[in-house]
Symmetry: C2
Subunit: 227 residues, 2 copies
């Protein structure tokens, strides 16, 4: 069976978990902590990052961009997640990059680093109390992204066009990691909320909703489909 | 004629310029300064970033991942730059991500921000004297990347395998931006140097070697093929 090396709250890993479930690829998942990458992770990926997808024969595919395109090429024939013509596919990839680059830099990276990773780091490596100003700034920028999701979901059935795509999975992956912490102001963002409800109700979401980080339980409504 | 919105010393833009030249796509290039993105750039790309590739009919493809895959799908039939089977293509994308993510964070972003972008920013937006410690740290990490390039080029004809690929163009794009500043210790890295000499000699490199940033001439050997 193929293997996935991932970290539960890593948005890039979450997108690939959602994609594997949508494609119907059963796999073994191994949790890694990329900020303390060990020899096994470095052996699979010289960059020491997750996600890494490993085929039965040991061939490793490293990083969310490479894994995403690889799965689409090898498992995406029946239900593509980068669907349509070249321009439609470019729109999917533009939005994936919006979330993996811009949303990540502005929201996921500061919030997850300060609230999650800093708990696990030794003090000498930057562990300790979170920098609240970075969290507040990230969460203030989150609101613009929720408005952007609402605008896209208002104009199209799914974020990148008529069909579910990697763009929806990327957005949902990032939001779900922040939602684990209870930090999404859903009440103020009904457009983004109704799009997220549709995504969260898909069977592909179940494994994410069962996540339990040791010592850090999810927020109350994290796994609730009627949040 | 298609248009490319780019910034001369932006490594992601440089990779797309190299790819366009390798594919033989003639285009008009418009210089943008993404740190002061104006209405034209935001109209083409809501993220306000470069590169953006714009077809004759006005269709815009935004961001280096989307542009790269789009050009391969629409212009790559004769000479692919993401060549081979799915695993070979995954290796190309792993290395593109190595340079666009890891090399960028460790080397290109600090060195280019401190030495180039800070010159153009108003003081209130962070302009002024460079932070020399960030530059020194970036240039110290550059050495490991040069060793990695040498190891790959020693094991294979090109970085990702038997053929020229986006991996070579990504690595060359980042190195060439640092080389514009004269900051690559070529004398200590003969393996990386001989690979770079091969890339730099390709006709696709000519437009990069002619770059002249206003008020900031390139280092002496930047355009010299026998450096």
């Amino acid at each position: 069976m193929p293997r996935l090396l991932h970290f539960s709250l890593d948005p890039a890993s979450r997108r690939i978990r959602l994609a594997l479930a949508e494609y119907g690829v059963t796999h073994d998942a191994t949790e890694e902590r990329p900020w303390q990458a060990g020899p096994d992770l470095f052996a699979a990926n010289p960059a020491g990052t997750v996600p890494v997808f490993i085929e039965d024969d040991g061939s490793a595919v490293c990083g969310s961009e490479a894994v995403s395109e690889y799965l689409e090429e090898t498992r995406g024939a029946d239900q593509p997640l980068i669907p349509g013509d070249a321009l439609a596919r470019a729109e999917v990839r533009r939005l994936v990059s919006w979330f993996d680059t811009k949303f990540y830099a502005e929201v996921s990276e500061p919030v997850l680093t300060e609230k999650v990773i800093r708990r696990f780091l030794p003090r000498a490596a930057g562990g300790g109390a979170p920098d609240m100003s970075r969290i507040r700034h990230g969460l203030s920028l989150l609101r613009g992204h929720l408005d952007y999701i609402a605008a896209l979901a208002d104009a199209r059935p799914f974020l990148a066009g008529p069909d579910l795509s990697m763009a929806d999975l990327a957005a949902a992956a990032h939001l779900s990691a922040i939602d684990y912490l209870g930090d999404i102001p859903w009440a103020d963002h009904s457009g983004a909320k109704s799009w997220y409800q549709r995504l969260k109700s898909r069977p592909s979401f179940r494994s994410l909703l069962a996540d339990q980080l040791p010592g850090m339980a999810p927020a109350g409504s994290y796994a609730d489909l009627d949040f």
